[in-house]
Symmetry: C3
Subunit: 139 residues, 3 copies
């Protein structure tokens, strides 16, 4: 049994946006009780992460780290057509993930107590992002 | 056909712990001959990696690298409630993975000759970690 | 319904090699219209990435970045049996991915407009790489 749907997330620019509830609702609509849920981001300048969702300072420190990991406007980059955050966004995306698969049990995502699913926008400007959610398993 | 079970791994603190056999045994119990096996870590301060499993110096060098990649006690981090390794553990986890899907063939994980599955503990203190194993496919 | 096959990719050494079409063809042969396609690289010194496939400078900048991220011949590494690019190849692989799952819709991979699937060879010498493609879903 396969259920597929698409989520649209409007971002306000660089930062993390929790999508756990939106994904949980898709799993609920699937009618699937046991199996797997794949969350797939259809972009190369944002990514998906599983992150602690209790203390917001975790995600603030993550941004501090990422800004140091790959610097906006790095003069060694050739690809800067869309601005100083263009190439860094691709690199942040490649070194994290665009596809995450989560187990489904009793019709819900089987996440750890402090685990949340986040869309991580890497571009400084707001973007409308598309996420494909696919749930497979038994009713 | 879906088979799901949970593995508990006790770590002795920071380091890599091979879980290939434990996952293989779960696949064996599933009775599934062909399909996919998803391994999902229910934590945000440890991760899952596929790594060379022949020469242990690979995993020693990996630790050397990770300690430099994100430094324990970095004063720019705000989130340090659980100590100097708290925020670095979250970052190491996000830049590696918490969910890995492996093909199943002839009732076994179809891994490369030198590929092993490892739980990578990022906290310095011992932790009891929970891994959800989900096998889907045909008998 | 499960379809599995193996792709062989010959690399000419370090660099990115697009495999989108090869994976699409495997999905076509599967006869599966809706579900998931898992692409699994059976090696620990190369990886799989989803990357912008329009402007080739993106992948050139990615190499520039990776060469700085982990340096060939780093004297702190103990594991250098196969040369100065041996341990860096393992680290590049672990910090990206060896397994990517992509949704399948209307018998095709549901990728974003600019998203391409690439094998990223991290060794400087040419290698013959094996990729397991597993498609699961409904006809």
């Amino acid at each position: 049994m396969t259920h597929a749907e698409t989520l649209k997330i409007q971002t306000r620019g660089r930062g993390t946006y929790e999508i756990t509830s939106a994904v949980e609702e898709a799993v609920g609509r699937s009618g699937i009780a046991r199996g797997l849920c794949n969350i797939f981001l259809m972009h190369t300048s944002a990514s998906l992460i599983l992150c602690e969702n209790a203390d917001p300072t975790v995600r603030r420190d993550l941004e501090t780290f990422a800004a140091r990991f790959v610097k906006d406007g790095d003069p060694t980059f050739v690809h800067d057509l869309e601005g100083p955050d263009d190439m860094p966004a691709h690199i942040r995306s490649i070194f994290t993930q665009a596809s995450i698969t989560v187990p489904v049990e009793d019709g819900r995502c089987k996440l750890g107590t402090w685990q949340g699913l986040f869309l991580w926008e890497h571009r400084t400007a707001p973007h409308r992002r598309t996420i494909a959610v696919t749930v497979m398993g038994d009713a």
